[in-house]
Amino acid sequence: MQREQPGRAALPWLLPSFLLLALFYLYPVFEALRLAFTDARLFDATTTLSLGSITGLWGSAPLATVLRNTLAYTLGSVLGQLALGLCIALLVVRAERARLRGTLVLRTIVLAAWVIPAIANGIIWQLLFSEAPFGAINSALRLIGLAPVAWLSDPGNAMISAILATIWQGTAYSMILLYAALRSIDQSLYEAAAIDNATGFERFWFITLPHLRPALLVNAILIMIMTLNMFDTVLALTGGGPGRATEVLSLFAYNTVFRGFELGRGAALSLLLLVISLVLTVCLTLLLPKGRK
């Protein structure tokens, strides 16, 4: 009896997933690609093939500002989420090993932020950062004798506020991934290090970090993609202002389509976002440890 080729046997099982992915993921990408090569506008029925939507982005003054904002926002948010997620994961693992109570509660509290919709997250932080005399954070600062901060009206501070709001929400995701990775590190390595009188920093630097490298890189890739696509928190928090101080690429694309009604140009911006995500993902993937033979 001749056995069936494994590849052929898998096809019927993979086909439904492939069709669903093609319908819901590939089709929108192809549609965006098609629109990017047109001058389509939402209220204009006639659409012609054109490179104008793509070439028009070259040398665009607002796009340069938006790309700078996107770089600052993504870098700040990704580094912040990684650092804070790692700190909380280390804290939870350490507390669990010491058999302290409350680690489950801590994890749940951190995760609660993650389940809040991004738009609600933006509104919550807008209330907290409000510069009105009754704004929450500024009121607290006044209580302890500190001067209020122009969280949202100062262009520099507004970007920091947007990054803080994003870090607050995204840290839980980072924490969960790193927590799982930390739990998988062989405990005997730490016991050996203790015998060698290694300090806490040395154990972290020479054992924890090297073992976390793949998880950190995968985490960085996922967070980076999510942050690049994030526009709802910024939309609710600052709307991209003051001026264009916090307008990131995804929000710029949204505004181009839904406020300027320029479908072709918006699609070209979405493609730019896709290309940036892909390039950064490939770069970070190259840093991942290669599989051992």
Partner: protein, 431 residues
Amino acid sequence: MEMMRSSMLLALLAAAAPGVTSAEELITRNRVGPSDAENALTFRLTAFDLYSADAATAAAFAEMFTVFIEANPGWRIDTQLQTGAIAQEQARIIEQTRAGRGPDCAMIDSSQLATFKDAGLLAPMTAFFTQEEIDDLFPFVREGVTDANGDIVALWWFTDLRVLYRDTTLVPDAPQTWAELQKAALSVANQGLEGVLFNAGRDEAAAFDWLAHFWAQGGELVDASGRPSFFEGENRDKFLNAVQFYVDLVESGAAPRRVTSLASYDDLLASAAAGSTGMFIGGNWMYGQIQNTMPAEQAANWAVSELPGPSEDTRATGTGGWTIAALTDDPAKVEICAGIARLYAGPGNAYQGLLPTSASLYAEYEAFAGPEFEVFARALENGRARPGVPIYPEISEQIQILLGNVLSGSATPEAALDAAAAEVMAAFERL
């Protein structure tokens, strides 16, 4: 106990037996009228009336719609709700209508009406209004709802305008000029409060509220052909004057720098309710909100007046509001749509205290007899609607960016205007 069991059994039988059930509800979450009506019209509406979170408002509109549907036997209105994301919702209506899946009748924000007209999506409604009704519309409204062929393509069922609110315990007399406003605001600021608040964040409200100061000087955003002209010739000076007015308010401390983060009238109302501001530039509808949200004693302190101008006799105010238009070729549906629009324009406005767009309606309903309506009616004489051109959304966007950059100190008014002009003209070339 036995009686109770019998009653329950009867109730169950009644529920199960066809023809024995109680009358079907005429108003549901997605329908007005009997579900089996032979004709159906889809109507996309906002969530402020029939489906208002306020039970009394919802009940009042349910009653109006019940009367309407009973007067139009054989019809059912399939209702579709719009969310608060106005620009996105209006874009969706355009896209769906193009694809043949749009509503038959819809509420369209007056700021987007030009886009719909330009796209040729609206059905003429002239036949369903009398000449008297059309003549009675305020001139800026009639112009706004008339297309290039002279047809009425929508009913602008209510308008709104921007006015100055002040706490009379802090500012007894209404400022009439920009200079008086700054002086009054500074005197409030010297008492440790915020002098005057206005939207200057990234929202259409910021651009539209500010435009009143540009229009008050006779400035024009576009020329007769629809080409942007706000940055040229005399318009440039008027534009920079109006920007400088805001800059002076912020630089002098009469207005806090945080205005660049204000993009919602709710934020202004919150400050008024907290008693932390002396004045704010808001919409006429906020008068009712003040009465409803503040304790009666506090609300009584708040008065409304026309927006100050560069001088007493040069005033303007931006007039907005919502329209109802038909997006179908079926004349029967267009007629029902016109009927719905008339319902909103008359009794609907009277219930909500919104500003009708026909002079006669002010006299017809008792609801418009309050002193605040005298102020609104006077201000409406200087009302200016947004220009009905497709480039307006881009102009608005660039004004929002300009105000944020200038008031936060990131750019000079001149440089910001040059940048805005370049962006608007680039977008105009792409139209």
